[in-house]
């Protein structure tokens, strides 16, 4: 991976003094992930370019764990600018980054004309511009195409920055923003990263309009670290929820409204022993535990990981025994018969059905309404008509949604299920009701009418 830094400051060769690198030599540095070279493809009075080339050794990268196993071996790390390059920058240009120079101390304080090129960088032109333009750079980010046979652009741009900027600032911009754009830190992010971020961001990050995104990504999406960093960064401005990355400005209260609506429905049917089917990390379980009327709470999910998260979030390991006895977490899949699900007052399917392939939905219906047969079933699901209110939303509200229904579609489904399995159903909206599109979430409350035997699909 490569980075070039060019100045037309006179004499341009002063760049060598600022970087503490003689333009007529090839400088070589051992890095944990390969070898870094600094060299000067041009060095004249008028124009001087320093190139930092990091020759990554894929074998040295192998030790790191990665979500996509194949990428251990075939990956873009040797080519794209990333935290590896940022690491090289801080090692190779240490004094320049700090703004010190033995030979040209006055020049460190001076904004000089600079051209910076990063030939391969992850990111879109739009995001790159959003990050660099507020810092006084003229940004040219040219998308790198895939290839004709495949068509379209890759996720990389060829970045050219021009501006008149203090060299130390320029280096700090790159040091922070290259990893932010790459968004794939190559090491475990520890709390001391906050310090590095604050040090390198001194003087420009606090006022940057994208500081939330920058802090989040720089700190590898560790929310607690990012929050701390942002608080330290600017005590005057309150920390706002990150919305920059979401196409949908989700109304935060909706989740709460949905939970309240479910609790109200449970109260309505007088349920005390309840199943939360598809409980996930336990958003509803916490609310159920708070109400003593629920004497037996079962959180069920198909994902073992979600159940572990729920266990941690609810702090089941340190819950008093009497409380602990009220709740049980089980892994189940609604496509199987599960005797443990029988005999409850009510079952909640909160934002669950839309995660099931439509052809598999009847199996879920048979499992819940036909076999488990709780006294009441509460189902919530998005109302797709409301999606027009989410600016910038293309497609569905979540990438794992297999479908989203209109109110009419949901009502048809609910009526059919109720009819087949001996339940009655009433439907209501949850969230801010809009006159034409209805509420963002729809809720169906099914109540069992037949009390005899199992019914089959």
């Amino acid at each position: 991976m490569l980075l070039t830094l060019t100045t037309t400051h006179r004499p341009a060769t002063d760049l060598g003094y600022l970087l503490v690198k003689h333009p007529d030599r090839v400088h070589q540095f051992d890095m944990p992930t390969g070898t870094a070279y600094v060299m000067f493809p041009e060095a004249t009075e008028q124009r001087c370019t320093a190139a930092l080339l990091l020759d990554v050794d894929p074998r040295k990268l192998r030790a790191r764990a990665d979500a996509f196993e194949l990428s251990q071996y075939v990956n873009d790390r040797p080519y794209a600018a990333s935290s590896l390059l940022a690491g090289a920058i801080s090692k190779v240009f240490r004094s320049a980054q700090r703004g010190t120079s033995k030979d040209r101390p006055e020049l460190t304080e001076q904004a000089i004309p600079l051209e910076i090129r990063v030939p391969v960088l992850r990111g879109t032109s739009e995001l790159v511009t959003r990050l660099f333009a507020p810092l006084g750079w003229a940004v040219t980010a040219t998308p790198i195409p895939l290839e004709p046979e495949i068509g379209g652009d890759s996720r990389y741009v060829d970045l050219l920055l021009t501006g008149t900027v203090r060299l130390a600032d320029a280096i700090n911009h790159l040091y922070v923003l290259l990893p932010v754009l790459d968004d794939g830190k190559h090491y475990w992010v520890a709390p001391d990263e906050i310090e590095k971020l604050l040090r390198s961001g001194a003087g420009w990050l606090a006022g940057h309009p994208e500081k939330v995104l920058i802090a989040r990504r720089y700190l590898a999406h560790r929310k607690s670290l990012a929050t701390t960093a942002l608080e330290l960064l600017d005590a005057d401005q309150p920390v706002t929820e990150e919305e920059a990355e979401l196409p949908v400005a989700r109304k935060a209260p909706l989740a709460g409204q949905r939970r309240d609506a479910v609790l109200a429905a449970l109260a309505e049917v007088g349920a005390t022993r309840v199943l939360d089917l598809g409980c996930g990390p336990g958003a509803l379980l916490g609310a159920l535990l708070k109400e003593s009327r629920f004497t037996e709470i079962v959180g069920a999910d198909v994902s073992a990981r979600a159940l572990e998260q729920a266990e941690r979030r609810l702090r089941l390991d340190r819950m008093p025994q009497r409380q602990r006895d009220r709740i049980k977490l089980i892994q189940t899949a609604l496509t199987y018969h599960d005797a443990r699900l029988g005999g409850y007052d009510a079952a909640v399917l909160m934002e669950v059905i839309e995660h099931v392939d439509l052809p598999r939905l009847p199996a879920l219906e048979a499992g819940v309404f036909g076999r488990a047969r709780p006294g009441a079933v509460i189902v919530t699901t998005p109302n797709v008509e409301y999606n027009v209110h989410y600016e910038g939303l293309t497609g569905m509200r979540h990438s794992d949604h297999r479908f989203e229904w209109t109110r009419a579609e949901f009502a048809t489904w609910a009526d059919r299920v109720a009819d087949r399995y001996g339940y009655t159903v009433s439907i209501r909206g949850v969230g801010d009701e809009d006159a034409t599109t209805g509420a963002p979430t729809q809720l169906a409350l099914f109540t069992k009418t037949e009390t005899t035997t199992e019914v089959t699909a």
């Binding site: 007529d24 090839v26 194949l70 495949i150 609604l334 035997t453």
Partner: protein, 830 residues
């Protein structure tokens, strides 16, 4: 001589020093004997610590329960002089449906005292022994009343020393009878239909002087088994009884009682029973018979055993079926289950009891054949089958041939009796499908070709995939096993090379192989039938392929091409193993985001770096070595890009999508695992001929491994194939999927041998450099190989079970285990 049922709970009863432990040691295996002293020792480090007794007996009962549940004779060596202690044992025996037996050792108190004094650890006084003796005297009269089914009292030293244990089989244990059997469903007085059915089954009737059938003989020596409910409702219950009683008496048939016989016997014994459900008709018919006949009937019914375990335990017959825990057991509730089944306690809209769907939960290995509940047609549910097809209500009289599992029936001559509830309007038992307990938790599987353990955490991960992404688990009858690459090659510049693949197979004892072109696409398993019902196409991990909008039209085209083959193979459906092409059709986003992305980044970064180096060199600096390295890298990235580019082809919906089938795995009631690959590929070729646009042929070469020239030719072929951008080839034993080695063990169904250029997208653009190759050649294939073989075996076993008509959970547990193996930590690049 002491008769002890093979499966029973034996309580030794006797005072301290009566010689119980010695007796137990003499007559039983040490592991069969649970001694209270021993358990006191376990709990309290002191066998004589009476304070530990309660806990010690708790533990003893727990262990005894585990043994009885497993069907093992258990002897309790304790004084057992108190009725409350014995009551616990009776309860334990009943809860496991085994017979409680008492063996009393009655020795003179003086002898016991002598022995007690000789033992240093027994410190109690004579009065304790006297009290025990008094308790024993009192106990003797109570044992039978308390519930011990057999009580043996050995009086005096001589009797004790001379005692011998003789094991007796339970009445229901007929495991040594192997038939073959003709098992007949509920007859309900339909004598004419029974005669017809027996005739159809090849039986010859024996008639008395009045022309009435009194016996039947099968020329092949088959044995009839009647599942009960011979009587009531129908026109000639006495006639049916006469025939069946004759057959049983002659040893030509065995019979279990039905609830109707049970009720009839109670009536004949003068008990007050409701005259309903067809009993009045029977009584009326019997009234015309002589008294002796009625007496015989009563004796016959009273002699019937409620269920039988037959044919080495592979077959169980009971009137209303029998759950696994009750098979070969004896207790009131076992009898009651066998006669009436289990009811949920609820009644339906006709006032009839709602039956508990035990068959849905049945997981036993024995086939259970029963009657009792009229069903429209017989159907195997989890290895159980109900033969009551409602003959008396105008249905049919049905028999099952065992071990052939063939169903034979004869229609009712008319509706002899009107049913209370409309016949067959409600299905008897709702289908519960697969049970979560079949797949979750740690599982040990013995699949015939081997054994495997599925760790609980792998099962948990697989459950998520199965629950969230897979096609209907009942549809998912097979998943492709992973495949091991050939041993690493020492040929210069190659990591994988055909010579290693040939050597691998030769080492496994295979002398003839087929080299099949390895298509670079997405693995696809296709289940296709004439009717289209239940058809599906799924991926390596059981997911639907593209979604119904595309999968269904694709399946329709496969169906059209395969129809003549279905007819020829006389199967309703076929299961094909295939590769769907091009790779980009399914993996488009993976290619774009990952493979092509890396290529684009490399092709942009390296020229930019080379340009910098050229300019640096132009200034007179020496960067030649670095430049050479980057130059090489650049050409490697070009090679890498060319490799994946070869598998990208434009598709639009299904246009451009093709299937390359290479194996026909199974059809209805059969597997083709034993067919050689010539047969499989011939069918693939016929599909290509039928629809060349849809199907891609698989190029192949058959190689005799003893012929070096043939090997050399195959190597050239492989070089040409991979030189033109092909992924490589799979070398398979020609004999087919179920190929075995000299010792009859399953061998790898194939090893893959991937092309030199193709491997760049697996191991990285620069993997061909000597330093990388040397390292990669050290890759460990052992784990991958054992996993491949295990998954292959489980897949074959799933197909075998399917062909045998095994219950769906038996197939599913194996398919699920294959999916769970995905979580094994094995290098994904292998």
């Amino acid at each position: 001589m002491i008769d002890v049922p093979e499966l029973s709970l034996v309580a030794l009863v006797g005072i301290s020093g009566s010689g119980k432990s010695t007796f137990a040691r003499t007559h039983f295996k040490p592991t069969q004997v649970l001694s209270s002293d021993f358990f006191r020792g376990l709990i309290a480090d002191d066998e004589n610590d009476q304070a530990a007794s309660a806990e010690a007996f708790d533990a003893l009962h727990y262990v005894a329960g585990k043994r009885l549940a497993a069907g093992r004779l258990t002897v309790v060596d304790a004084t057992n002089l108190q009725s409350h202690g014995r009551a616990e044992l009776i309860k334990l025996a009943r809860s496991h449906d085994v017979l409680p037996v008492a063996i009393v050792l009655d020795v003179p108190e003086s002898v016991a005292w002598e022995r007690t004094q000789a033992r240093p650890d027994r410190t109690f006084g004579r009065q304790v022994l006297t009290r025990m003796h008094r308790d024993l005297r009192r106990s003797l009269g109570q044992l039978t009343r308390e519930g011990f089914r057999k009580v043996h009292v050995l009086r005096g030293l001589e009797e004790i020393e001379g005692a011998e244990i003789r094991y007796e089989k339970l009445f229901n244990d007929r495991r040594d009878e192997h038939g073959p059997f003709d098992i007949v469903g509920d007859v309900h007085g339909c004598r004419a239909e029974l005669e017809t059915l027996l005739g159809r089954l090849g039986w010859e009737l024996v008639r008395d002087d009045a022309g009435r059938p009194v016996d039947a003989v099968h020329p092949e020596g088959r044995k009839a088994v009647f599942v009960g409910d011979l009587v009531d409702r129908g026109p000639d219950s006495p006639g049916v009884l006469r025939l069946v009683m004759g057959m049983v008496a002659a040893g030509h048939a065995i019979c279990v009682p039905g609830n109707h016989e049970q009720k009839l016997a109670r009536k004949l014994n003068g008990r007050n029973v409701q005259l309903t459900h067809g009993l009045p008709e029977t009584l009326e018919q019997l009234a015309a018979e002589p008294d002796e006949f009625v007496t015989e009937v009563r004796a016959f019914i009273e002699g019937l055993v409620s269920h039988y375990v037959l044919d080495d335990g592979k077959l169980v017959v009971a009137h209303a079926g029998l759950k696994e825990a009750y098979q070969g057991r004896t207790s009131g509730r076992v009898r009651s289950f066998a006669l009436y089944g289990e009811s949920t306690g609820e009644t339906d809209e006709y006032g009839l009891p709602v039956r508990y769907p035990w068959a849905q939960e049945y997981r036993g290995s024995a086939a259970v054949v029963y009657g009792h509940v009229p069903t429209p047609r017989t159907e195997w549910i989890n290895n159980t089958i109900c033969l009551d097809t409602g003959c008396v209500f105008g249905g049919a009289l049905t028999a099952l041939r065992w071990p052939e599992r063939e169903v034979v029936d004869t229609p009712a001559e008319k509706e002899h009796y009107a049913p209370i509830r409309p016949l067959f309007t409600t299905t008897s038992e709702p289908d519960r499908g697969l049970d979560i307990a079949d797949v979750t938790g740690r599982k040990h599987l013995d699949y015939g070709y081997g054994r495997a353990t599925v760790p609980a955490e792998n099962a948990a991960a697989a459950l998520e995939v199965m629950g969230r992404f897979a096609v209907d688990p009942e549809t998912l009858i097979w998943l492709p096993p992973t495949m091991a690459p050939c041993s690493s090659s020492t040929v210069d510049g190659y990591l994988e090379h055909p010579s290693s693949a040939f050597a691998d197979l030769q080492a496994a004892g295979i002398d003839r192989v087929v080299c099949e072109e390895k298509h670079m696409g997405s693995r696809a398993v296709v289940r296709v039938s004439a009717s289209g019902e239940g058809d599906a196409i799924w991926t390596r991990t059981g997911r639907p392929f593209f979604g119904p909008e595309m999968d269904q039209p694709l399946l329709a085209r496969v169906r059209a091409a395969i129809e003549p083959i279905l007819a020829e193979l006389e199967t309703e459906w076929l299961l094909l193993d295939a590769e769907l092409l091009p790779w980009s059709a399914k993996a488009g986003s993976l290619i774009r985001e990952h493979y092509a992305g890396v290529g684009a980044a490399g092709r942009a970064a390296l020229p930019a770096a080379l340009d910098v180096l050229d300019r640096v060199a132009g200034r007179g600096l020496d960067v030649a070595a670095l430049r050479d390295r980057l130059e090489l890298r650049s050409s490697e990235v070009e090679g890498y890009s060319a490799a994946y580019r070869a598998y990208v082809k434009p598709t639009d919906g299904l246009t451009g999508v093709t299937l390359a089938p290479f194996a026909v795995l199974a059809g209805a009631g059969t597997t083709f695992a034993k067919k050689d690959h010539g047969w499989h590929l011939a069918i693939a070729d016929r599909l290509v001929a039928a629809d060349p646009e849809l199907f891609t042929p698989t190029r192949r070469m058959i190689v005799d491994l003893s012929d070096p020239a043939a090997e050399a030719e195959a190597i050239d072929w492989w070089l040409t194939l991979t030189g033109a951008g092909g992924e490589g080839m799979v070398v398979k034993p020609y004999a087919g999927l179920a190929a075995v080695d000299g010792k009859g063990r399953l061998v790898q169904p194939g090893v893959k041998c991937r092309g030199r250029e193709y491997l760049r997208i697996i191991y990285g653009p620069e993997y061909t450099r000597p330093e990388h190759l040397d390292r990669l050649r050290q890759r460990n294939l052992g784990r991958k190989r054992s996993m491949a073989l295990r998954e292959h075996g489980m897949g074959l076993a799933a197909l075998d079970r399917l062909a045998e008509g095994a219950p769906s959970w038996r197939v599913h547990e194996l398919v699920f285990a294959i999916l769970a193996a995905e979580s094994e930590p094995v290098d994904p690049r292998l």
